[in-house]
C-alpha cells in the first residue's frame, strides 16, 4: 500500500515541467529610526520566492522590476511593505517585543501576534549555557507550566510534565523533531537545536490529536539562513561535577549508642564483633564510651568528582536559493559514583533547504547520534544508606571474599540485607550502546506562490540499542552477594518509526480580512523489536569473551518480542483574522490507530483572541503597548495506554502445570478477566492574556487552564484477586494558572538588563474512579477528591512521653507501647488505632513551581542567574521506612540528633528503641513522620561571560571569542532528609537515587 503511494509521488515529480521569467533590478537601503544600518534584513518580493538580505551597510540589490510589492522584515522590527523604486530608503519601526517572531506550530508556522494560544518559544541561546546531557534538563525553571524533574544518572533524561499529571499511565509530552514523533529527546545535543515551541493548550496541541494530551514540544534542528556567508561556530565547555546535599549518617559510635539504647541484649553482640575484628574497645561498662576503629562513611566511599565536557562545531550559511547547516558535537559525562560509569555521545547533523525552482522547494535534515552509556548501580545508594559504618570497604582478613577482599556484613553477624555498597557498585557491569538515525526529507510545491502550497514530508527514525550486562563470579555475602557462575545477559532492541505527512496550505487576504486553511493527511508506523539471550558460565576476564555461545549450552534463556502500531490521520486548520484585532482558529484531527479496538478518534479545538490594544478607543491609552485576550477549548488524546488488559485468557507453561511424581503434566489456568481499553481523552479549556506595557519594557502572560482527563486508565484489583485489571475508569482534573513576566531595560548606553519571573499554580484532583471511592496502590492511594497518588497512612499526633500516659491509653495498652513510640491520631474516634484510622497524607504533585531569572549585559560582559523551586509537594522517606526489614539498618544523623530521649525531649521524633519496633517503622504502618516536605529552592544556573569582538590584528579581524564561567545547580535548599527532592519515582517514594550534582564549567565560544 505504502509502496504504491511512493511510486505515485516519484512519477508525479518526474512529470513536472517548468518555466518562469525574471525582470530588472532595484537597489535600496534599510535603517532603523536612529539611522543605523540594519544588517541581515530580509527583502522579499511578494508572491514569489525572490528575496535577498541586506549587507553590512544595510544595502540590498534585488532582481525585480520597479513597482513590485516587497516586504522587508527583521527580527524585532515591524514588517515594511511597499512598492519597489530605485534607491529606496526604508526605515523599519521597532515592533512590540517578540510579536513579529515566527513561531513553529503544528504542521506550519505563525507569527506570535497571530496566535490564539500560549506557546512558549525557547531559543538555542537559552539552553546553551546549561551543561546537561539532555536538552530538556536545560529547560528547568524557564517555562511556566513545564515541570522538569532531573535525573542524576549519566545520560539519563529528566521527567517532564506539562501542566500537571493527567494520566495514571504516562504523562510525558510528545516531542516532534523535524516532523518525527518522540517520547524523549535525550539523543539530541543542546547545540543541535535551533528552537523549541512548547504547545501548552488545546488549540495549539490538538492538531497532534491522539498524541497531544500531555502537551507537545516541537523542536527544529539548526538551519542556515539565506544570503549568509558561512558562519563557523565552535562551542565548548569543560567542567567538574560534584555531589551536593549528601546526607549525614550516624558514625559508628552514634549507631552503637542508638542500638544499645534500644536493646542492649539484642544488639551488643554484633557491635562487639566489629570491635573484635576491626579494633576499638568495649571495656567500659557504659556502652556510651565504647570505641570503634572502623567508621566507614559509605556515601563518601561511593562519591567522587567527575568531569563533563562538550564540544560542538556548527557551520551554516546560504545563498539566495539554498541554505545549509552542518555540525557535529561530542559530549562526555563521567558519573559521580566512584566506579566505572559514564556517558559519551557523538552527534552529526546536517540540513539543507533549497528553492530549486520558483515552484519547488526541497530539503533534508538528519541527525546521527551514537552514544555509550555505562550504567551505575543505583541500588548502591540505598545500601550506602542502610549499612552502618562498623565494617570497612576492604577487609584484608576476609579471604572468603573475591575478586577483592571486601568487607562483609556476615563477618560481624549482620544479615544478608547488608550488601557491601562499594562491592555492589564495582561488580556491576552494564552497558548500552545506542545508534540513532533521524532523517527528514521534504518537497514543497508552491502551487500559487505565497498562497497555496503542498508539502510532502517523510521522516524516519531508527534507534538500535545493544545492551550487555555481565555478572562476574564473586563472593561477598552469602546468597545476597555471591555468584559461583558468571552470567551474561545481552539484548538488542530496535525502534524503527516512520511518518509521512502531506499538507496543503492556503492563505490569503482581502482588505482587512486574512484567512488561512490547512488540510493534511499523515500515515505513521512504529516498530519495536527486542531479542535477548542469557547464558551462564561465560568466561570472565576480557570483554572479547562476552558471547552467549561461550557459556554453558544448557540453561540458555532467550526472548523475542515486538510491537507494531500504525496510525492514520486526517487533520485540518482554519484561521481567520480581521484587522489584526480579532483572530479565530479551528483545528480538527481524526486519528486512526491499529492499536485499539475502537480505531478512530476525533479531536477538535477552537481558539479565539482579541487584540484590544488595536481597538481605536484603546490607542489613546499610552500606558498599554499591547494587550491581547485569548481563549481556547479542545480535546486531546493520550495513546500511551495499553490496548487491552487482562491475563492471557488461558495461561500455560510450567507455572500453570501441576507436578506429579517428579515431572509435570501440561496444565492450563483459565481466567476470564479481560478488558479492551481506549485512549484517554483530555478536555482542555484555556483563557489568558498577554500585556506589554511601560514602553515595551514589561511583558506579562497569564493563562488559566482547566484540563479534565476522561477515560483515564487505572487498574483496580479484581475482587479478591492479586491481579489488577485496567479500565478507562478515572477522571482527573488539573487546573491552574501559568504566569510569566519579563522586564527588560537599559541604563545608560552600556547596561542592559532583564528580569523574568514565571510561576505555575496547579491543583490536581481525582474526580472519579468508576464508582469506587478509593484504589490502593502500595504506599499511595487514589481517592476521589484527593490528589492522584496520595500517600496513605496514619497521622502522628505526637510521642508517648511517660509510662502513665501509656497506661491510660487503650491503644498503647493493647499494643504494648512504651514512651518514645508514636502516638497516632484516632481519626474515627472509636478509641482504638487500626487500619480505619489512615488518611491521605499529601502527594508528590507540587502546587507551585516557579523560576526567577536575572541577566545583564555591560559592555563586553554578560551575566545570567536563574533559579527554580517548587512548593506543596510531599515525598516519602522510604529509606528510613526500610528499617522494618532489618533493625540493624543505619540511622541518619538527623534522626540520631533529634531522637526522643526522655519525657519532654521531643514530641516529633521517636526514641532509638521505637525505631526497632514495627509499630513505628513498617511498610504497613506508613505514617506522617515518613512523609516529608518536597519543597525546594535552587540556584539553577549562574553564568558570567566576556566577549572579545572586533579585535584587529593588522588587517585581519580576529574571530569573535566569548569565554564564560558557569555554575550549574550550585545550591539547592530543602528540608527533606533526602539526597534530593527530585525523585525519579513518579509517586514520590524516595528510595535509591543519584544525588544532585553541581557542575562548574568553563566555556569558550568562537565565531568565525
Amino acid at each position: 500500500m505504502e509502496k504504491r503511494l511512493f511510486l505515485f509521488l516519484a512519477a508525479f515529480l518526474v512529470s513536472m515541467q517548468i518555466a518562469f521569467a525574471q525582470g530588472g533590478a532595484v537597489k535600496g537601503n534599510v535603517t532603523d529610526k536612529s539611522g543605523e544600518a540594519i544588517i541581515g534584513a530580509t527583502v522579499k518580493v511578494d508572491g514569489t520566492n525572490v528575496a535577498t538580505v541586506t549587507d553590512i551597510d544595510g544595502n540590498f540589490n534585488l532582481k525585480v522590476a520597479p513597482g513590485a510589492n516587497i516586504t522587508v522584515s527583521y527580527v524585532g522590527m515591524k514588517d515594511y511593505t511597499g512598492k519597489t523604486a530605485n534607491n529606496m530608503k526604508i526605515v523599519l519601526q521597532e515592533a512590540v517585543k517578540g510579536l513579529e517572531e515566527v513561531v513553529v506550530i503544528g504542521y506550519g508556522s505563525a507569527k506570535a501576534k497571530d496566535l490564539t494560544s500560549p506557546i512558549t518559544v525557547v531559543k538555542a541561546a537559552d539552553i546553551a549555557s546549561t551543561p546537561s546531557s539532555s536538552p530538556m534538563t536545560a529547560l528547568q525553571g524557564k517555562v511556566a507550566g513545564v515541570n522538569v524533574v532531573s535525573n542524576g544518572t549519566p545520560g539519563a533524561g529528566p521527567t517532564v510534565r506539562i501542566r500537571g499529571a493527567g494520566s495514571f499511565a504516562n504523562s510525558s509530552p510528545l516531542y516532534v523533531v523535524d516532523g518525527m514523533f518522540y517520547d524523549d529527546i535525550n539523543f539530541l545535543n543542546n547545540e543541535d537545536i535551533q528552537d523549541m515551541s512548547i504547545l501548552k493548550d488545546a488549540s495549539a496541541a490538538a492538531i497532534y490529536g491522539v498524541r497531544a494530551a500531555n502537551g507537545v514540544v516541537i523542536i527544529t534542528t539548526k538551519k542556515g539562513a539565506k544570503n549568509q556567508a558561512a558562519k563557523i561556530t565552535y562551542d565548548g565547555y569543560v567542567g567538574v561535577q560534584m555531589a551536593t546535599n549528601v546526607i549525614d549518617m550516624a558514625s559508628s559510635k552514634e549507631y552503637s549508642d542508638m542500638l544499645l539504647e534500644a536493646d542492649y541484649n539484642s544488639y551488643s553482640q554484633v557491635l562487639k564483633n566489629s570491635i573484635d575484628r576491626f579494633g576499638g574497645s568495649y571495656a567500659d561498662a557504659d556502652f556510651h564510651n565504647w570505641k570503634y576503629d572502623t567508621d566507614t562513611d559509605w556515601y563518601d566511599e561511593l562519591l567522587r568528582k567527575a568531569i563533563i565536557t562538550n564540544h560542538s562545531v556548527n557551520i551554516s550559511g546560504g545563498s539566495d536559493k539554498t541554505t545549509y547547516s552542518i555540525g557535529g558535537s561530542y559530549l562526555y559525562q563521567n558519573g559521580i559514583m566512584n566506579v566505572d560509569n559514564d556517558y559519551n555521545r557523538l552527534n552529526f547533523r546536517a540540513s539543507i533547504d533549497s528553492d530549486v525552482t520558483n515552484w519547488l522547494k526541497v530539503g533534508f535534515s538528519g541527525v546521527y547520534s551514537r552514544s555509550t552509556q555505562k550504567l551505575p548501580k543505583n541500588a548502591a545508594w540505598q545500601y550506602a544508606f542502610i549499612n552502618p559504618g562498623i565494617y570497612p570497604v576492604i577487609d584484608e582478613n576476609n579471604d572468603r571474599s573475591f575478586p577483592k577482599r571486601y568487607g562483609s556484613a556476615e563477618t560481624i553477624g549482620l544479615s544478608r540485607n547488608f550488601q557491601n555498597p562499594v562491592a555492589l557498585a564495582e561488580l556491576y557491569d552494564n552497558e548500552n550502546k545506542v545508534k540513532q538515525y533521524m532523517t527528514n526529507f521534504y518537497a514543497q510545491f508552491n502551487i500559487i506562490p505565497s498562497k497555496l502550497n503542498f508539502k510532502t514530508s517523510i521522516s524516519f527514525d531508527t534507534r538500535d540499542i545493544d545492551g550487555t550486562e555481565f555478572t562476574p563470579t564473586h563472593y561477598v555475602l552469602a546468597e545476597a552477594q555471591e555468584a559461583n557462575k558468571t552470567r551474561l545477559h545481552k539484548e538488542v532492541t530496535s525502534y524503527d518509526n516512520k511518518i509521512w505527512d502531506n499538507t496543503l496550505t492556503y492563505k490569503d487576504s482581502y482588505k482587512e480580512h486574512s484567512f488561512g486553511a490547512m488540510a493534511g493527511f499523515s500515515m505513521r508506523e512504529e516498530n519495536y523489536r527486542k531479542m535477548w539471550g542469557e547464558a551462564v558460565n561465560v568466561p570472565e576476564g576480557k570483554k572479547e569473551y562476552h558471547y552467549l555461545t561461550q557459556g554453558d549450552a544448557e540453561g540458555v534463556k532467550l526472548g523475542d518480542e515486538g510491537t507494531t502500531y500504525r496510525g492514520l490521520s486526517y487533520f485540518g486548520r482554519l484561521n481567520y483574522s480581521y484587522a489584526n484585532k480579532y483572530y479565530l482558529m479551528f483545528t480538527m484531527r481524526a486519528d486512526g490507530s491499529s492499536k485499539y479496538q475502537e480505531q478512530w478518534g476525533y479531536f477538535p479545538s477552537v481558539g479565539a483572541s482579541w487584540v484590544i490594544s488595536e481597538e481605536p478607543w484603546m490607542k489613546s491609552v499610552k500606558a498599554i503597548d499591547y494587550l491581547k485576550l485569548r481563549a481556547s477549548w479542545g480535546k486531546l488524546g493520550n495513546d500511551h495506554v495499553a490496548a487491552s488488559d487482562g491475563f492471557a485468557s488461558i495461561s500455560t507453561g510450567n507455572g500453570s502445570s501441576g507436578v506429579f511424581g517428579g515431572s509435570t503434566f501440561p496444565g492450563y489456568q483459565n481466567s476470564s478477566y479481560f478488558s479492551w481499553l481506549q485512549w484517554e481523552v483530555v478536555d482542555e479549556f484555556n483563557a489568558g492574556f498577554n500585556l506589554v506595557t511601560l514602553s515595551n519594557r514589561l511583558s506579562v502572560d497569564v493563562d488559566y487552564f482547566h484540563r479534565m482527563t476522561n477515560h483515564a486508565v487505572i487498574s483496580p484489583r479484581v475482587p479478591f484477586g492479586t491481579e489488577a485489571l485496567a479500565g478507562n475508569y478515572g477522571k482527573i482534573l488539573n487546573q491552574g494558572v501559568d504566569f510569566s513576566a519579563t522586564w527588560s531595560d537599559k541604563i545608560g548606553n552600556d547596561f542592559k538588563y532583564n528580569i523574568g519571573l514565571n510561576m505555575s499554580f496547579l491543583n490536581n484532583e481525582v474526580k472519579e474512579l468508576g464508582g469506587k471511592s478509593i484504589i490502593f496502590e502500595g504506599f499511595t492511594v487514589n481517592k476521589v477528591g484527593e490528589n492522584m497518588n496520595s500517600f496513605y497512612g496514619y497521622e502522628v499526633e505526637g510521642i508517648y512521653q511517660t509510662p502513665e500516659e501509656c497506661a491510660a491509653d487503650r491503644t498503647a495498652v493493647l499494643n504494648g507501647l512504651e514512651p518514645g513510640d508514636f502516638r497516632y491520631k484516632d481519626l474515627n474516634g472509636d478509641g482504638i488505632i487500626d487500619g480505619n484510622d489512615r488518611t491521605t497524607l499529601g502527594s508528590y504533585i507540587p502546587t507551585l513551581t516557579f523560576g526567577l531569572n536575572f541577566g545583564f549585559e555591560y559592555k563586553n560582559f554578560d551575566f545570567n542567574l536563574s533559579t527554580y523551586g517548587q512548593a506543596g509537594a510531599e515525598m516519602m522517606n522510604r529509606k528510613r521506612g526500610m528499617r522494618y526489614m532489618d533493625s540493624y539498618q543505619n540511622f541518619d544523623k538527623d534522626i540520631v540528633d533529634n531522637r526522643w530521649t526522655g519525657p519532654g525531649s521531643t514530641n516529633e521524633y521517636p526514641s532509638a528503641k521505637a525505631l526497632t519496633k514495627g509499630w513505628n517503622v513498617s511498610d504497613q504502618r506508613v505514617n506522617s513522620f515518613y512523609i516529608e516536605d518536597a519543597s525546594y529552592f535552587r540556584i539553577q544556573n549562574v553564568t558570567l561571560g566576556y566577549t572579545f569582538k572586533d579585535i584587529n590584528c593588522g588587517s585581519y579581524t580576529l574571530p569573535r571569542l566569548r569565554m564564560s564561567l558557569t555554575a550549574d545547580r550550585p545550591l539547592t535548599l530543602f528540608g527533606a532528609n533526602s539526597l534530593t527532592p527530585e525523585l525519579s519515582d513518579p509517586r514520590g517514594v524516595d528510595f535509591d537515587l543519584y544525588p544532585i550534582t553541581a557542575t562548574y564549567t568553563f566555556g569558550v565560544q568562537l565565531t568565525f
Binding site: 500500500m1 512529470s15 513536472m16 515541467q17 536493646d263 541484649n265 539484642s266 553482640q269 564483633n273 553477624g413 544479615s415 510545491f445 552469602a478 502531506n502 488540510a519 493527511f521 500515515m523 544448557e554 540453561g555 523475542d560 518480542e561 502500531y565 500504525r566 492514520l568 486526517y570 486512526g592 490507530s593 491499529s594 490496548a643 485468557s649 510450567n654 507455572g655 500453570s656 502445570s657 501441576g658 507436578v659 506429579f660 511424581g661 517428579g662 503434566f665 501440561p666 496444565g667 489456568q669 483459565n670 476470564s672 484489583r717 475482587p719 479478591f720 492479586t722 484504589i775 504494648g816 487500626d834 487500619g835 522494618y884 526489614m885 532489618d886 533493625s887 514495627g918 513498617s922 504497613q924
Partner: protein, 498 residues
C-alpha cells in the same frame, strides 16, 4: 498558470488516493501473538490439563511464604522466629494484636481465592468436556477429575475458614454479591465438594494414582474428617477415618526422620502433598514453592540456610525433652550449633532475639539435593495431610464416643519410639498431636481452640517464652478480614449469609 493547475490536481489526487487506498492500513494483527484457540472440548484426552492447572495454583498460591507463619504462629509452641523483620508476625502470633492492614493477611486471602477461581473455571472446562462426549470411560474420568478439583477447592476454603472464620463462597468468578457466609454454611459447602470427591475419585493412595500424588477419595475423607472434628461431629469423624484405616491402603512410613525428606516423598503415609521438582537434573528450570522452604531455612551460611524465620519456643523444646521424645525431636528441631546426622552444620544467628531452633520438618540435607542444586529444600514436597493425623483423629473420635482409641494411637507412638499407652485419654491424644504434628499447618492452635484450652494456654505472658504481655481471648479465634478487602469490597461488611 499551467503548472499550478497540474500541481493542484496532482496534490488533490494524491490526498484522495492516500485517503481511499489506506482503509486496510489500520487492520493489522498484533505482533508476536497467536490468537488463543478456544479449548476444544471434544478432545477429552486433554481434560486433565485444567485439573493440572489447579494443582499448580495450589502450589504457587498455597505455599506463599507468608501464608505459612500466619497459619502456624498462634499456638504456644511456634513463633515467627525473628523480631527484626516482619514484626507484625510477632505482634499477631504472640500478643494477639491483629492488624487488619497487615499485608500478609491480604496475601493469604487473595492467594486462596485465586485457587478457588482457578478451580471454578477448571470445573467449567470439565463440564464442557462432559457435554461433548458420550463415551462412558471418558465421562467416568471426567467425574474423577472434577472430584480432584473439588477437593482442592475445599482445601482452599479450609485454609480460609481456619484463618478468617466466616468467608465468602465464590460460586462463580464473576459473582456480584461478595457478602460472606457463616462458618457453618462454608463448612457445609466444603463437605458437599468433599462428598463429591469421595464418591467419584478412586479409592487408592495418591502414590497409586495415574497422575502420581493426585488426591483420591481418601484425601477427601480425611479433610472431611478434619472439618467434622472442628464441628464436634465425632461419629462422622470415626466413620470416615474408620474407612481409611480399614481399607488398609495406608501405613505409617517407618522412618519418621526421613518422612519429611526426599526418601519420604509420596510415601504410603501421604494423603496430600504439594509437589515440586527439579526434574532430577542439576541445572535449568525448577518448579518450587513460593519460598516456603527458604522462609524457614535457618540463619546459616551456604546452601543449608534461609531467611531464618519460624522458631520453636524453649518451653516446647523442654516439654518434648521431658516426655522422652527422641526421633521426633531430632526430626523437628534444627538447633543453632548442631551438626545434623548428614553433616550439615547449623551456625545460627548472633542476634539473641532471633530463634535458635528452626523447623527441622522443612530441612532437606545437602546430601539429598540433586547435584548442582543449592536452594534450601528444593525438589522436596510440602507435606500437607498424612496418615498419622488420620490415626490420631480416629483415636480421638473413639475416645470421645466412649470407646478405646489405643490401637490407632499406639501405632503413632511406636513409630516414634515411644512406649505404648493403654486406656489413652483425650488429653494424651491432644499431647500426642502436639508432638507428632508440630511445625505442620497449625494443628496445635486448632486443637487448643477446639478443646477450649487456648484461653488458659495463651493467656497473658504465655507468648514467646513469656516475654510478651497481652493474651488470647475467644474473640481472637480468627484473624480480621484484611482491610484492603473490606475497603474495596464493602459487601464484606454485610451480615454473613446462613
Amino acid at each position: 498558470m499551467k503548472i499550478s493547475k497540474y500541481l493542484s490536481v496532482s496534490a488533490a489526487g494524491m490526498l484522495l488516493l492516500a485517503a481511499t487506498a489506506s482503509c486496510d492500513y489500520l487492520d493489522k494483527d498484533p505482533e508476536n501473538s497467536v490468537p488463543e484457540e478456544n479449548v476444544d472440548f471434544t478432545k477429552t484426552e486433554n481434560q486433565y490439563q485444567a485439573v493440572s492447572g489447579v494443582y499448580a495454583k495450589v502450589r504457587t498460591g498455597g505455599t506463599h511464604w507468608v501464608v505459612w507463619p500466619i497459619s502456624i504462629i498462634r499456638d504456644d509452641d511456634v513463633w515467627s522466629g525473628r523480631t527484626d523483620d516482619q514484626g507484625s508476625l510477632v505482634d499477631m502470633g504472640e500478643a494477639y494484636n491483629y492488624d487488619n492492614s497487615f499485608w500478609g493477611l491480604n496475601e493469604l486471602w487473595t492467594q486462596h481465592y485465586g485457587i478457588v477461581k482457578v478451580a471454578n473455571s477448571a470445573l467449567e472446562s470439565l463440564a464442557g468436556y462432559a457435554a461433548n462426549t458420550k463415551d462412558n470411560a471418558a465421562l467416568k474420568k471426567n467425574a474423577e477429575y472434577a472430584g480432584e478439583v473439588r477437593f482442592l477447592r475445599a482445601y482452599a476454603y479450609y485454609r480460609l475458614t481456619q484463618t478468617f472464620g466466616d468467608v465468602t463462597i465464590l460460586k462463580e468468578n464473576k459473582q456480584q454479591d461478595l457478602s460472606r457466609s457463616t462458618l457453618d454454611a462454608v463448612q457445609k459447602y466444603m463437605l458437599e465438594d468433599l462428598n463429591f470427591a469421595m464418591n467419584n475419585c478412586p479409592r487408592v493412595r495418591p502414590n497409586q494414582m495415574e497422575h502420581a500424588g493426585a488426591v483420591t477419595a481418601y484425601s477427601a475423607m480425611m479433610l472431611a474428617a478434619k472439618i467434622h472434628l472442628n464441628r464436634g461431629e465425632f461419629a462422622e469423624v470415626e466413620r470416615l477415618t474408620d474407612v481409611i484405616v480399614s481399607d488398609k491402603k495406608f501405613s505409617l512410613y517407618p522412618d519418621f526422620y526421613q518422612l519429611f525428606k526426599i526418601p519420604g516423598k509420596l510415601c504410603d503415609e501421604s494423603l496430600f502433598e504439594i509437589q515440586c521438582t527439579d526434574f532430577g537434573i542439576g541445572g535449568g528450570d525448577m518448579i518450587g514453592t513460593d519460598n516456603w522452604f527458604a522462609f524457614q531455612g535457618p540463619a546459616n551460611e551456604g546452601p543449608i540456610s534461609g531467611w531464618g524465620f519460624i522458631g520453636y519456643t524453649k518451653k516446647f523444646q523442654d516439654w518434648a525433652a521431658a516426655r522422652g521424645e527422641t526421633v521426633r525431636m531430632e526430626t523437628s528441631f534444627l538447633k543453632k550449633g548442631m551438626t545434623t546426622r548428614e553433616g550439615d552444620f547449623i551456625k545460627g544467628s548472633d542476634n539473641p532475639t532471633q530463634t535458635d531452633c528452626w523447623n527441622g520438618k522443612a530441612y532437606t540435607p545437602l546430601s539429598q539435593l540433586t547435584e548442582g542444586r543449592l536452594d534450601y529444600g528444593c525438589n522436596n514436597n510440602v507435606r500437607v495431610f498424612r496418615y498419622a493425623d488420620v490415626l490420631l483423629m480416629n483415636a480421638e473420635a473413639k475416645v470421645r464416643m466412649g470407646k478405646s482409641g489405643d490401637e490407632p494411637f499406639n501405632l503413632v507412638r511406636v513409630r516414634a519410639n515411644m512406649p505404648e499407652i493403654t486406656g489413652v485419654t483425650l488429653d494424651q491424644i491432644i499431647d500426642e498431636r502436639r508432638m507428632e504434628l508440630c511445625g505442620e499447618w497449625g494443628d496445635r492452635y486448632n486443637d487448643i481452640v477446639r478443646t477450649g484450652k487456648a484461653e488458659q494456654l495463651l493467656k497473658e505472658g504465655q507468648g514467646k517464652d513469656g516475654q510478651i504481655a497481652s493474651g488470647w481471648t475467644k474473640a481472637k479465634t480468627y484473624y480480621p478480614i484484611p482491610l484492603e478487602q473490606v475497603t474495596t469490597n464493602p459487601d464484606l461488611n454485610n451480615e454473613p449469609h446462613n
